[in-house]
């Protein structure tokens, strides 16, 4: 056998391939196959019992023309993501800048603010469900005893308020992780950059805007991208805290898709026969939407990405 042939190279590295096999097998079985399955099923009608029947583009026609609740979920998902990130990311960045200084107790604050991220989203959603409860919840109890409110507020049962209550839980859980990531980026910026700016007479706001932000560069871009993708994919929080309610006020993409696959009772449409084909079409469109948002963001933020560190 020639020592340069492909077959020989593969033979020579047979142990390497063997050691990679769990990851490769896992990729095919639990990543690629499910994606392909969903993509192909989106062109079929399928109830899980009888064999799938070809349905052409009908699932997509229905999705685009006859499913207002889906588009409501799309809107809610965007509203949730951008609403909560508009609080969470500036908060995280400001805290990172503050805790990057040599403040007394900064390690305590860093460690504590990160703590919510190690807890389970679903479990903490349950705890917040108790805290927000209108009559027995401690939030209304505290606000009432301080005289801030007179009537109990139904934090999760009032349209308009429920989504904001949910955003705040998500901010609570995620500002710390983003702070830690920003801190890692800040520590990579050389000090003399700030010192020379100070000598040139830049105030702290100017230093933040013209030095910190551009110098974070690609890291800032990636952190924000991960935060956007993460919030568009939120599921646990909504399933446990609101179930999509009141009405459909907090129905989001991933919960809507989940209900079509696993919890038809929660759809409220009286759908009794499983509609896995339609659910798959929803999944495909959701993936495309998330892909488009990610791409659009990367294009919009391309100047940050130019600054590779």
């Amino acid at each position: 056998m020639k020592k340069t042939s492909l077959v020989y190279k593969i033979y020579k590295h047979r142990v390497a391939y063997l050691m990679l096999s769990p990851v490769i097998v896992g990729f095919f079985v639990f990543t690629l196959y499910p994606q392909v399955w969903v993509l192909s099923l989106s062109f079929f009608r399928y109830d899980g019992f009888r064999p799938p029947t070809w349905h052409g583009l009908q699932n997509f026609v229905r999705l685009f023309q006859r499913d207002p609740l889906w588009w409501r979920s799309v809107w809610n998902t965007f509203y949730f993501s951008f609403g909560k990130l508009a609080i969470e990311l500036p908060l995280a960045l400001i805290l990172a800048v503050v805790l990057n200084r040599n403040l007394f107790g900064r390690n305590f604050f860093r460690g504590l603010f990160f703590l919510p991220h190690v807890t389970s989203t679903a479990i903490m959603a349950l705890v917040f469900y108790f805290i927000y409860s209108p009559y027995q919840g401690i939030l209304n109890g505290i606000l009432g005893s301080l005289g801030i409110i007179e009537e109990p507020i139904d934090w999760l049962g009032t349209g308009g308020i429920a989504m904001i209550s949910t955003m705040l839980v998500s901010v609570w859980q995620n500002f710390g992780i983003n702070m830690v990531l920003f801190l890692a980026g800040l520590q990579a910026i050389p000090d003399d950059l700030f010192e020379s700016a100070e000598i040139d007479g830049a105030n702290s706001a100017q230093r933040f805007w013209y030095i910190t932000i551009p110098a974070l560069g690609r890291m800032l871009q990636v952190i924000v991208m991960l935060a956007i993708i993460g919030s568009l994919k939120s599921f646990d929080l909504f399933r446990v805290l609101t179930g999509g309610g009141p009405g459909t006020d907090t129905m989001v993409l991933m919960l809507y898709i989940f209900n079509y696959f696993f919890d038809r009772g929660a759809l409220g449409s009286g759908a009794t026969v499983p509609q896995f084909g339609y659910a798959s079409a929803l999944g495909v469109v959701a993936s495309v939407i998330i892909g488009i948002v990610t791409g659009a963001y990367l294009w919009w933020s391309r100047r940050l990405g130019d600054n590779q560190r």
Partner: protein, 283 residues
């Protein structure tokens, strides 16, 4: 680093803000822990009181025995521990092979794996994953959950291990090869011991993910309540009973779920945060 004047208005304002955030951040956890000792009638009253008026340890006994949380806790451990061990084994082998050898298909595989980090999966692929488990005949045991966890490609972990190993010189590998050590032997005897720090970090992340997860065990245990993990079991208690009926038990379950992960975090704080940031700080 410049000196800080603590008695200037901006610094005082900063501390006021930090302390406010400290209270807000800690409150839900403190609320759960104290709430888990309250008799249920104290919840029915409502009010602003955080500490229990009457400390009721029986909540834990009831949660443990009557609400089946002993079983759920065991299930959570039964899932999380093998998940950590096998994930670390698989990703460290992959990271070693990718970082040390040039073989046909290497680049293609790496790019494909890294691309999966940006795929929108979430609840979209949950159903076909469950069907795969059913096809394999493991959808009715906890091993179904474990198998999905350990074989779900964790590209980020592989990437972090590669980054770590690239900082370790290959001289030892080469010396061992000359001594007749096989590729697997080098991995087992040399690479694994050297990679302990990064493995500890990744192990913590894997444990946290498995211990806290809700979506996958929810689906796998829908037909089998006895298989529920702690996260699923605590939330199921609310969904199956009248919500007001068992807040104390649910908060006991919550506390049982929170304490291990928080204790681990407090002990290993530095590893945790290092693991999160390791991939992002590349000099």
């Amino acid at each position: 680093m410049r000196k800080i004047r603590y008695f200037s208005p901006p610094i005082i304002l900063t501390y006021v803000g930090l302390l406010f955030l400290t209270v807000v951040t800690g409150f839900p956890v403190v609320y759960s822990v104290f709430g888990s000792f309250k008799p249920n009638r104290e919840f029915v009253l409502g009010g602003a009181r955080i500490l229990p008026m009457e400390w009721r340890l029986a909540n834990y006994v009831e949660a443990w025995e009557l609400a089946n949380f002993a079983q759920y806790t065991w299930n959570s451990l039964y899932v999380a521990i093998p998940t950590v061990i096998f994930s670390l084994f698989f990703v460290s082998m992959a990271g070693y092979v990718f970082s040390r050898f040039q073989f046909p298909g290497r680049k293609f595989m790496l790019v494909t794996l890294l691309a999966t980090m940006f795929l929108a999966t979430g609840t979209v692929t949950l159903y076909p994953i469950f069907r795969v488990a059913r096809f394999l005949g493991i959808h009715q045991s906890l091993w179904g959950i474990i198998v999905v966890y350990i074989f779900s490609t964790n590209a980020a972990f592989i990437y972090l291990i590669m980054g770590y190993l690239s900082g370790i010189s290959m001289e030892m590998d080469q010396a061992a090869t000359i001594d007749g050590c096989s590729k697997f032997g080098i991995y087992w005897r040399i690479i694994l011991p050297l990679a302990k720090p990064i493995l500890a970090t990744l192990g913590l992340l894997a444990f946290r993910a498995a211990w806290n997860d809700y979506m996958l065990p929810l689906v796998f245990t829908m037909a089998r309540p006895a298989m529920r993990t702690l996260t699923v079991g605590v939330i199921a208690l609310r969904d199956t009973r009248d919500g007001a009926a068992a807040w104390n038990l649910m908060l006991a379950g919550t506390t049982i779920s929170l304490i291990p992960i928080i204790v681990i975090y407090l002990i290993t704080n530095k590893y945790f945060i290092r693991g999160i940031t390791a991939g992002s700080v590349k000099e």
